[in-house]
């Protein structure tokens, strides 16, 4: 069976690949949106923290024998705590200033983190084995589905929608939404906003680290894996707009899929299609597809 002269199975496998990339975009842009909402910080270090997540998983396995599943639980916590330290020691002083300063500081943190990992491990990628439980592939008729890639999509969508649920449907989430609108007023109600800010940054960073661990068996674990991803993720965030949680998730997934299909129909464009879309969206809806005009 063929569509526009393209075999079905190729389409499906690119759809899956697009969903995998889209899952990473979604998790990363979700964290960026949550952080930007409450802290007003454009967290450029998100890519480096993603890389750190992948590296910690690799180090855990190679130095301490911590397997993938434990890494998936522990690494986000460790990197999240590291994020809280960054917030408490550095970011805290920038909230009253223009966004640009937060961007500059987190860019500096990115250079530092990447530099440290590069000086120890170079730029060549370290392989990370797919966990035994998820190795191999399942034949689902039209295509053979690599088990690990399917797991990545399922795991990240679960995390994304759980995050959406907590933010949009629970009491804790109502603090976060209110804090995003008017943190001073939330504090005047007796809520410890400084702690809430730290935890939110820690959570956003933990999401990046979780994505990093998920990515370790797919991408090569290298000091530059974060910067390759973060550029696209920022374009995703611009397209989706900063205003909405669901918007970040859908835009991330959608762009991953669009990128995947572009690779089928016009491979030369696949690396740039996201940026072309970004340009178009900026011209038509400067606040992004789901963003709110301020």
């Amino acid at each position: 069976m063929e569509i526009f002269g393209i075999p079905w199975s190729l389409m499906l496998s690119q759809l899956l690949l697009g969903l995998v990339n889209g899952s990473f975009y979604a998790m990363m842009s979700l964290g960026l949106a949550v952080i930007f909402g409450l802290l007003n910080i454009i967290n450029f270090a998100h890519g480096a923290l993603f890389m750190m997540g992948a590296f910690f998983a690799w180090m855990g396995l190679n130095y301490f024998g911590i397997n993938y599943w434990f890494a998936l639980l522990i690494v986000p916590v460790v990197v999240g705590v590291f994020g809280i330290l960054i917030e408490r020691s550095m970011l805290r002083w920038l909230y009253k200033l223009d966004h640009l300063y937060g961007l500059l500081l987190t860019f500096g943190i990115t250079l530092l983190l990447e530099g440290v990992f590069r000086s120890f491990y170079g730029v060549s990628g370290q392989p990370y084995q797919v966990p035994a439980l998820l190795s191999g592939a399942t034949d689902v008729g039209a295509l053979t589905l690599p088990n690990y890639r399917a797991w990545v999509v399922v795991a990240s969508l679960t995390v994304c929608f759980a995050t959406w649920f907590v933010i949009e449907r629970t009491k804790i989430g109502s603090y976060l939404r209110a804090g995003t609108e008017n943190p001073k007023m939330v504090e005047a109600f007796g809520i410890n906003v400084p702690v809430m800010v730290s935890l939110t940054y820690g959570f956003g960073v933990a999401l990046a680290a979780f994505a990093g661990v998920l990515a370790a068996p797919i991408m090569q674990v290298s000091s530059l894996m974060g910067s390759n991803l973060i550029i696209v993720v920022f374009a995703v965030v611009v397209i989706g707009g900063m205003g909405s949680i669901m918007g970040s998730i859908l835009t991330g997934l959608g762009l991953g899929v669009i990128e995947g299909f572009t690779r089928v129909f016009y491979p030369e464009l696949s690396a740039t299609v996201v940026f072309i879309l970004m340009g178009i969206v900026l011209l038509i809806r400067p606040a992004g597809l789901f963003g709110k005009e301020k």
């Binding site: 109502s174 939404r177 001073k184 007023m185 005047a188 109600f189 007796g190």
Partner: protein, 252 residues
């Protein structure tokens, strides 16, 4: 179990025995470089309703914001229920039992009416605030529209919501900034009745009001603020004799 008749707490105005809900001494406050409050001295006894009068820009709103720690630097002394709060962060000040309703109402647009109402957490272990049911009985409009986004409510409903949400928390000292501003007379009357009810329940209230006719019959005492200083203070009973001074100070 309704044996306790509705008791009107008697306001104790004797300075020696009265319990002080709020005592502000030599308060100065800044916004960045601007020196806004220069010398504010206010004492509010438990159960009193006190109104701050003054022209726009005289520093009344800033006084309330300074009590909450929402201005820039502050100096002087603010004792809430006897506890010094001048060096406390905003969220701890709230836990001394203060509920703040700002002039701009600050209803959250991404929260439903009911989420707005339930947002402020309980701030006191001992004091219980009004229950959600009591609040909905007092403001039936809010019950009808509890699922709507907070900012879809009418101006009057938003104002009711802004006040209602601080009644749940156990706060006994309420700071109400211009709650009658820009509202239809029928709503203003409802708010006046609400103040009377709250006073009867033992709440202590500090109001900033532009609407003199709204504030006059409600308050026990008045302070007049001018250029960041208290320039005049008098009790409700002195109101008539003070009218000439007031009209000069406020231009009413």
């Amino acid at each position: 179990m309704n044996t306790v008749a509705e008791q009107k707490p008697i306001v104790d105005n004797d300075p020696k025995t009265a319990k002080k809900a709020l005592e502000i001494r030599n308060l100065q406050a800044w916004y960045g470089e601007s020196y806004i409050l220069q010398d504010i001295n206010i004492t509010v006894n438990q159960g009193e309703v006190v109104t701050l009068l003054g022209r726009n820009g005289s520093g009344r709103t800033t006084t309330l914001r300074a009590i909450m720690g929402l201005t820039g630097a502050r100096k002087g002394s603010i004792r809430i229920g006897g506890v010094e709060s001048i060096n406390l962060p905003t969220y701890k000040i709230a836990h001394l039992g203060v509920g703040y309703c700002p002039e701009e109402r600050a209803i959250f647009s991404s929260l439903s009416t009911e989420e707005n109402l339930l947002l402020p957490p309980s701030i006191s272990k001992t004091e219980k605030g009004m229950s959600v049911k009591e609040i909905y009985d007092m403001f039936p409009n809010l019950a009808e529209r509890k699922a709507s986004p907070g900012t879809r409510l009418s101006g009057g409903e938003q104002q009711m919501l802004a006040v209602a949400r601080i009644l749940r928390t156990g706060a006994k000292l309420l700071l109400l900034d211009e709650i009658s501003e820009g509202l239809a007379p029928v709503i203003v009357q409802a708010l006046a009745r609400m103040i009377v009810t709250l006073k009867a329940k033992g709440y202590t209230i500090v109001m900033v009001e532009q609407n003199f006719r709204f504030a006059a019959p409600l308050a026990d005492r008045f302070y007049v603020v001018e250029h960041g200083k208290i320039v005049e203070t008098f009790a409700a009973s002195e109101l008539d004799s003070k009218m000439p001074v007031l009209s000069e100070l406020l231009g009413v």
